[in-house]
């Protein structure tokens, strides 16, 4: 299962995706965030704790309780407020 990161989240990861073995596919988005926060560097872990860093599953913004399966396309996007 590939977890994609966009823009500055990708820079923090140092790679454009994070791979999770299909057998370890988390039950839902909240569990995925928790798993990722234990696996990535402190800065990215802090970003992933921000509820405004949103998760899209199969190109749809997903709530924390959305269930996941290993074939889903999952991506995280950062908020921004500049103008």
């Amino acid at each position: 299962m590939k977890i994609l990161f966009f823009a500055r989240l990708r820079e923090l990861l140092g790679s454009d995706c994070f791979e999770i073995a299909d057998a370890d596919c988390p039950a839902d988005v909240a569990a995925l965030r928790a798993m990722l926060r234990l696996s990535v560097n402190a800065q990215l872990a802090e970003s992933l704790a921000d509820p405004n860093v949103f998760c899209a599953v199969n190109q749809k913004v997903a709530g924390e309780d959305q269930t996941l399966k290993s074939s889903d396309e999952v991506a995280f996007f950062p908020p921004m407020t500049g103008g």
Binding site: F6, Q59, V61, A75, F77, P79, T81, G82, G83
Partner: protein, 250 residues
């Protein structure tokens, strides 16, 4: 009815086979509130005036600073220290006299914000902080007005339309957490001028789409761009039933 002069002035957009005369008339009859006359608001406001939007209300409580000039292209050297809304209104008024421009040179908030939102057909958000963005979202929900929202910093940008009257999601359905002042801002994180220029220009295009019905708008979708690599994604946003701002709407 458009006059002969208007038909000539807008002939190149009316030449598009599916851009109908009635769309141009709709633009002329439209009032748009542009909040933020900075990096996004500059191309946004001038393209809307150029396209024939009949009335713009420009709101910005800030004054022009030298650090703005590389990206906030409605303002120039002589405008440093001047109200951004006044500077923008003067330039647009001079270039496009058909567009009626009014200005708010104070921070638009409270009842003045509600009245301004209620008076227009659409609100375009080009501000630089969460509190203003959440306040605009709530005012638009209250008045059932579409909100075209853009943001940019560094090399990144986002654009979305929130239209709860049309059954769509609101800004807070995407960004649930209030409290922080800003996420990624130009002031703290820097930005290349053309990056906000691209996003402000796309925001103008989106406003034209929403006002006229031409093309496919970003209603309940968010476009994310990283112009460092030109990568872009569009994801759908559904209304959240537990959204504190729009969850209790019919």
């Amino acid at each position: 009815m458009l006059s002969d002069r208007e038909l000539e002035q807008y002939s190149r957009q009316l030449m598009l086979p599916d851009f109908r005369l009635e769309y141009q008339e709709r633009l002329r009859a439209s009032w748009v509130l542009v909040v933020g006359c900075g990096g996004l608001g500059s191309p946004l406001a001038i393209y809307l005036a150029a396209a024939g939007v009949g009335r713009l209300i420009l709101a910005d409580g800030d004054t022009v600073e030298r650090t703005n000039l590389h990206r906030q292209i409605l303002h120039g050297e002589a405008d440093i220290g001047r109200s951004k809304a006044a500077s923008a209104a003067a330039l647009i008024g001079a270039h496009y006299p058909d567009c009626r421009v009014s200005q708010f040179t104070e921070k638009l908030q409270g009842e003045a914000l509600n009245q301004a939102v209620a008076s227009v057909n659409l609100v375009a958000d080009g501000t630089d902080n969460y509190p203003t963005r959440f306040a605009l979202n709530r005012a638009c929900i209250r008045a059932r007005k579409p909100l075209v929202s853009a943001a940019a910093a560094r090399s990144e940008g986002q654009l979305a339309t929130f239209d709860v009257a049309g059954g769509g999601a609101c800004y807070r359905c995407l960004y649930p957490q209030e409290g922080a002042n800003a996420a990624l801002s130009c002031r703290d994180n820097g930005v290349l001028g053309p990056v906000v220029g691209v996003l402000g220009t796309l925001q103008a295009l989106e406003v034209i789409k929403v006002l006229t019905g031409w093309g496919d708008s970003l209603r309940s979708r968010v476009l994310m761009m990283d112009l460092r690599s030109y990568e872009q994604n569009i994801v759908q946003i559904a209304r959240r039933p537990d959204c504190p701002d729009c969850g209790d709407l019919d």
